[in-house]
Symmetry: C2
Subunit: 351 residues, 2 copies
């Protein structure tokens, strides 16, 4: 029986409420399977920042590397300037823990959730593999003659061979294993970004030589967004840079039902990974026991899967499918349950 | 009676066939209104490039500035390496003629054209104002240790105060005049692009001080794509940078019916502007008299409007609406007409 140590960062707003459901469900899973979880809460977020001025200290980062995974709720608080918590917590953790893969499944569970006409669950079922530590997110740039009419502002999109190679290789592996069509699409803007995305093109070809069984496709990012709303069924696994990944994963989240169902894994395959619902902290409904915990539960399922337990992950996934089919959901999803109520329902379905 | 001199660049593939319809319709318009057009054809495109090695020479560029507008079909040919014609013609013209505004109307004409559920023409009706000469399109960047495992590739997003100010001012003016809700949304990624999009944020506020009657909104690009497919009705005028504009205008084109209906104006308010259908050269159907000319006709209407004749532009627009309502369209749009047939129909409706 293997024990998994999970660091829980509830964070801000509805974050702690929804991760609480995840912890409850994982504890239940521990009772009925061979899995065993141990949780430790980390006090990271707006309150802690406003009290102490600290975001994530080096000590905390070092501590986090001792865990098997991080389970994150949400960060963001109206009392803190926009960007501060996102940079100081989310992006800082991704970068310092070198979580170079952002895994974003796009999977429609019921036709009623998509804003697209005539699309069924089988049509919207892809995995987006986003580079998570480079590109326009490098934070490199500057101002020249700032504040004058001659101002120039620059922002650098930086990619390294190492960074591009590892995410593309991961995506090929994923396409090989996923069991849909063994198809990988590179999404870029190589016709305009003739430096940074030329590197992506070359590496995609080079690494692809080792994956002759994977069907290779290319799509420019502008065409990609069109295809996603007209013919999402053509996609299996998609690999893309950090910035375009940010955009197309959110578009993907929407076509599969919106933020209530969207989950994000920040993966370091050789280190500690972090799993989170994509939604924000929703301060307006925090503490009212009405936040929808399904995305947080899907994040918990993804964590279980990436930790090497796909069958147990499926158990959570199936329980979630049932909650949707039976309308055992919160009000925003068409049901009548509280946040706690949904968590309890999932636990009861599990056994 | 004012004479407008139009430079026609038919270009590649279906380009010449569809601009031919536009010329025919404008000639007809000249017969029944006070407007008067004179056309000159420019031999620019793949054939010319393959014969002579020339794309757009300095002489041609100088000549083009003597026209009132440029009417472009499409560029792109399978015999030419991808990127060459796009850069050497499209982007080169935009940059050298300083067409700093890319105007992309997103307007649904009939519910049946959108892939979105439950959206009517009134719900999808916005104007995207894209910066067209800066940002990631600057073409600045490079390689370090190219071809090695230590390679670094950079691509610079460069914005100038001048470039950002003029497009934002244009967008405010547009929002004021457009007659929908006097609403302008800035779409950026200022929470991550803390240099280049910080400039956008500052200029948006500063210029906005002169437009107290325009309602100001801000949306991050990732959230923007979600909103566009879930609630496109919230948008009136949107202003954004070159790269994000490329992406969201194509997404916009799709939600209003796809490439068959999408049009793009490359505007230099103080110089010569260029109007084009958004679709490509579609070499597979070139020369078969079956290409859909409606986007090219919409581009002609936009040209007439920007040249200062909104009423005459409306005449073309109404004729197009009628052709859709009466299924007087090409096969891809559900009709039975040829390319020529659609042009003739529009002319006959005009009078
Ligand atoms: C909060 C923000 C910095 C973040 C990003 O841009 O990566 C978010 O949009 C995401 O996709 O996880
Ligand atoms: C062809 C390409 C270079 C161009 C662009 O990226 O601007 C096109 O996508 C457009 O939007 O007009």
């Amino acid at each position: 029986m293997s024990k998994k140590r999970i660091a829980v960062i509830g964070g801000d707003g509805i974050g702690p409420e929804v991760t609480k459901q995840g912890v409850k469900v994982l504890e239940k899973l521990g009772q009925i399977t061979d899995l065993n979880f141990e949780f430790e809460n980390f006090n990271i977020g707006a309150d802690h920042y406003l009290e102490t001025g600290e975001l994530v200290t080096d000590e905390v980062k070092a501590d986090l590397t001792n865990f098997d995974a991080i389970y994150l709720g949400a960060v963001g608080d109206p009392r803190v300037k926009p960007g501060v918590l996102e940079h100081g917590i989310l992006l800082d953790l991704r970068f310092s823990l070198d979580q170079y893969i952002n895994l974003r499944p796009i999977k429609l569970l019921d036709s009623k959730f998509t804003p697209l006409k005539d699309k069924e669950p089988k049509d919207i079922d892809m995995m987006i593999v986003r580079e998570n530590t480079e590109g326009l997110y490098a934070g490199v740039g500057g101002f020249f003659k700032k504040g004058t009419k001659d101002e120039v502002a620059t922002q650098e999109m930086i990619n390294t061979y190492k960074g591009v190679e590892r995410v593309i290789r991961y995506a090929y592996e994923y396409a090989q294993k996923r069991g849909k069509e063994n198809k990988l699409t590179l999404c870029d803007k190589s016709n305009v970004l003739t430096y940074s995305h030329d590197l992506w093109q070359r590496v995609f070809k080079e690494v692809g030589n080792n994956y002759s069984d994977v069907e290779k496709h290319h799509m420019l990012v502008d065409a990609m967004t069109m295809k996603m709303v007209r013919n999402p069924e053509v996609f299996d696994v998609v690999v893309t840079c950090n910035m375009f990944g940010d955009i197309i994963t959110d578009l993907g989240a929407e076509i599969q039902g919106g933020m209530g169902m969207a989950v994000s894994g920040n993966i370091n395959p050789e280190g500690v990974s972090m799993f989170e619902p994509v939604h924000g902290s929703a301060p307006d409904i925090a503490g009212q026991n009405k936040a929808n915990p399904l995305a947080a539960l899907l994040a918990a399922a993804m964590m279980v899967e990436i930790l090497g337990n796909p069958e147990e992950a499926q158990m959570i996934q199936k329980a979630i499918n049932l909650s949707l089919a039976e309308n055992q959901t919160t009000v925003d999803m068409g049901g009548k349950l509280t946040t706690d109520g949904v968590g309890d329902y999932i636990c009861s379905v599990l056994g």
